[in-house]
Point group: C2
Chain length 232, copies 2
């Protein structure tokens, strides 16, 4: 039996979460990758997540079904246009983009917590980032700290004091360029990842959404070339 | 347009959550009832929830699909026997029953939070109870307080400081008899509710599981008769 510790790693198939999986594996964890089918338009994300698990390896990969569309309310899950770079430029300073999904990280972490408890894992990894978070409230360190505290009160282990759950956020203080450099140094092939909010049917990235622009800027600053296909 | 405030009410269709819905309505809230189809064996619960919404009324009733079975690990969702009263008697003092579902209230509250944000609601009602919680860690007041703090850091409203989310737990300090008396005083017909962990195909309660025993004891102490059908 392996003596490595189990960890649950939230994996969207994007650049950030893929780097997180590589970091967690590099730290010696036996990783259980968790993805979600949550009514998002970018189902190509899930194919990316499967490619990543195949390439990097994981004890298990679970794709959990959740449907936040029953509540409506976001560009990522509802049937409205994804804004292109600049279209939100009038109110970017501290405001929250309409691509926000209500309570998304809270929901995702809750599923991770359920799985961690079943696996007897004390460690959850999530690729949130305070620098590039673009106004997402549930990507800030104070939110993660509050979640961790709540989680330790929610579970048997927390009550019995036998173990403390830890939420790892290795990307929290990194720039996109630092994230990319870290992944490259760990041998990650970013061709298998997908960051675009609005890929075409072939899986090519649009190059124009906030996520694509941030990613391309990160590769440029890291002095590397983004290997994914872009429409423009 | 109604001037009543919106609230999300977690509704399983059991005695407790039905009483909570009656209390929230009595306090003047426009209630949005949220139930879950989460792989539990007691699907009769959902039929009870529908009866309750029909009788008490709600702005909307959403049944969200979540499948915690992908993670395994509980008598309520896995295919093992539900313990009858007494079979756990050797370790009831502070221990956690095997009918515990991993991170259940954390998952349920996370969905409630998502819906509350879409509805612009500041109020979530949940029927947790500290007296009868039988060792469920996520039914304690300190857990609820930590959840509320986390939730206020997770959402736009919390970040922007425009409103504070409140998790209401009106049953927290009540005995089962007090819960029943409160519901009866508000006109609740408990015949439409279902508490049994293991009802038969006709929807009749077993009378022997922890939940049935607690319920029957509550009615006896309240000096009332339980109108649901029992097998014995």
């Amino acid at each position: 039996m392996s003596t490595r510790k189990n960890a649950v790693v939230l994996l969207s198939g994007g650049l950030d979460s893929t780097t997180v999986l590589a970091i967690a594996k590099d730290q010696g964890y036996n990783c259980y990758a968790l993805s979600f089918r949550y009514g998002q338009r970018a189902v190509a994300e899930l194919e990316a997540a499967r490619r990543v698990v195949q390439a990097l390896g994981a004890g298990q990969h679970v794709v959990a079904d959740i449907d936040l569309r029953v509540f409506g309310g976001s560009a990522l899950t509802a049937d409205i246009e994804v804004p292109k770079q600049g279209s939100e430029s009038d109110d970017t300073s501290g405001s929250i983009p309409i691509t926000y999904v209500p309570a998304r990280n809270t929901v995702f972490l809750s599923f991770a917590l359920a799985w961690a408890e079943v696996l007897d894992a004390q460690d959850i990894f999530i690729g949130v980032n305070a620098l590039d978070y673009s106004g997402y409230p549930d990507c800030r360190p104070e939110y993660i700290a509050a979640y961790e505290k709540m989680a330790n009160l929610a579970t048997r282990a927390g009550v019995e004091g036998t173990q403390q759950l830890k939420i790892h956020t290795p990307l929290m203080e990194m720039s996109k360029a630092q994230i990319i450099s870290t992944g490259l140094s760990l041998g990650v092939d970013y061709a298998m990842t997908l960051s675009c909010y609005d890929p075409d049917e072939s899986g090519a990235s649009c190059g124009g959404c906030d996520s694509c622009v941030l990613r391309l800027k990160g590769f440029a600053e890291a002095g590397a070339t983004d290997p994914v296909r872009y429409l423009k």
